[in-house]
């Protein structure tokens, strides 16, 4: 396995993010850094990646593990290239979220929480994403796909079948360099 290290651009961004907090409070940068790590290291946080983030912030690895395991957006296991996160709380359920989930399950031959055998897709049902007025919806990376129909879902899956990159919540241009 190659050495775990952010690329130079990300490392510069990490330093800029740490400066957002008072001296000695660099641990505040943990959540943003874990997002950057997940985006750069294949969409999930392995123990070595978390240890690396701990070293950047000069905190103990356990301080990273306990945070990474608390928040739902951090993946502690590998996920497919395209992570389909389908909301199914009240407003989305009222407008057909369960049918959307069933449609994806049938189409990809996987159940909620599973990854297709080719490693392309992971299906994850999630709780309210604040898209209630445009329900039903699903999220892929930072993109909200709203007012879903089966046709729209099919088009998304088709689109992502041909992509080689990982779906991401952010890239190095998301955060301002202060």
């Amino acid at each position: 396995m190659s050495e775990i290290k952010f690329n130079d651009e990300t490392l510069a961004l990490v330093q800029s993010i740490i400066k957002r907090y008072p001296e000695g409070k660099q641990k505040s940068a943990l959540l943003p850094l874990l997002h950057l790590a997940q985006a750069e290291f294949d969409g999930w946080l392995s123990a070595p990646v978390m240890d690396y983030v701990a070293s950047l912030l000069n905190i103990k690895p356990i301080e990273v593990y306990e945070v990474a395991s608390f928040y739902s957006m951090y993946n502690l296991n590998p996920v497919g290239k395209c992570l389909l996160e389908v909301c199914r709380t009240s407003s989305c359920w009222l407008r057909g979220a369960n049918e959307i989930v069933a449609h994806i399950e049938n189409k990809l031959g996987i159940k909620d929480g599973e990854t297709t055998s080719d490693g392309k897709f992971t299906l994850k049902t999630v709780e309210c994403l604040g898209s209630c007025g445009t329900a039903p919806m699903l999220q892929i990376g930072a993109d909200f796909h709203e007012n879903l129909t089966f046709e729209k879902v099919d088009a998304l899956i088709n689109d992502w079948s041909n992509k080689t990159e990982h779906s991401k919540y952010l890239d190095n241009s998301t955060f301002r360099k202060n």
Binding site: L31, F70, S90, E127, G130, C132
Partner: protein, 447 residues
Amino acid sequence: MSKKILLEHIGVPGIETLAVYREKGGYSSVEKALKTMTPDAIVEEVKKSGLRGRGGAGFPTGMKWSFLAKPEGVARYLVCNADESEPGTFKDRYLMEKIPHALIEGMITSSFALGANTSYIYVRGEYFYIIKILEKAIADAYAAGWLGKNILGTGYDLDLYVQAGAGAYICGEETALLESLEGKRGNPRIKPPFPAIAGLYGCPTVVNNVETIAAVVPIVNNGGDWYAGIGIGRSTGTKLISASGHINKPGVYEIEMGITVEDFIYSDEYCGGIKNGKKLKAVVAGGSSVPILPAEMILTTANGEKRLMSYESLADGGFASGTMLGSGGFIVMDETTSIVQNLHTFARFYHHESCGQCSPCREGTGWMEKILHKILDGHGTLEDVDLLWEIQRKIEGNTICPLGDAAAWPVASAIRHFRHEFEDYVKNAAAIKNVKHYHNMHNLATA
């Protein structure tokens, strides 16, 4: 009539940019505050305005500000709560996406009033595309001199940063948010001390919702008395309502407090009536945690008066026949909706989102979800409905933070107003099992 204050310029092309926002009078509250007002005078105007916290609790903002401790030589912080996660609520997202500078302007004016030189906007991580919009807007505000050192030559310095959350409803609770901002798990703190005394990094801190901060701008521009003249009674000003569910026109609406609920649901100016010509069955008026009310109770108070969109009118009758304005997450359900199934989605939500710190909530939310699943699966008994009632009662008031109450109230109100629906599931258990069995067979046959 709709009254647009926060969304006055919503349709203006380019209003998301600093240039157009400025053309429409944007950042004038910063000029007025920094050049002509003292911090205390701003707090006084906010008090006079009667503005109440728009995140859900409705606590008077001016009073919250006046509690802020000001020990010599200790930093103070303003933290904006943009962790919008209450099911049914998407108004802050709308405001930040469409008019990001309204929030940034509010943050500058409010930070000056509170004597904060560093402020943070904590945005739920799922809204990363919003974070990108805010980061761009903040960069533009720095470049134009609205942020940074010596703003407008007044000697006032302010740094403003966006913090990304990572998926946790509980971080909308202000002390959990502060824990998260310190790079920890989002476990709410025991209070006191309140954040006004010991908040971020142990320093005096004010945490306010996005909509609350944005409302400070027109209050400073036009005065607290002007704002207090809008709305009804102690529900002053306007409120952003996120409308969803079985309505013709879901979306975010800015309303003057005091319009009738009936008008809000049926007028073409707002929700445009129930979808597909169906009848209204029930409404969750203020986000998932507030009590669900059947149609007749949401439209009319127990005294037979038309219910209004205001803190007081929605709460009229207490939990026996009333509800709460909450976050303004207005979820509408038509006559075909299963109240028990909807409740199951809420129970699953709260179980998923409980931080696990207090046992009544950690265990109770799990049990409520399981029992509802059992009932929906055709294995429920009448005793299960009573057990559900008992569990919610034992969570309420017995936890460090209000998530426990928030998990209990939907269950309590669903049983209070729709007990017959739970009983129907129990009485028809055999039929439910047969239908499920049929579907399973069918799925096997086609697999």
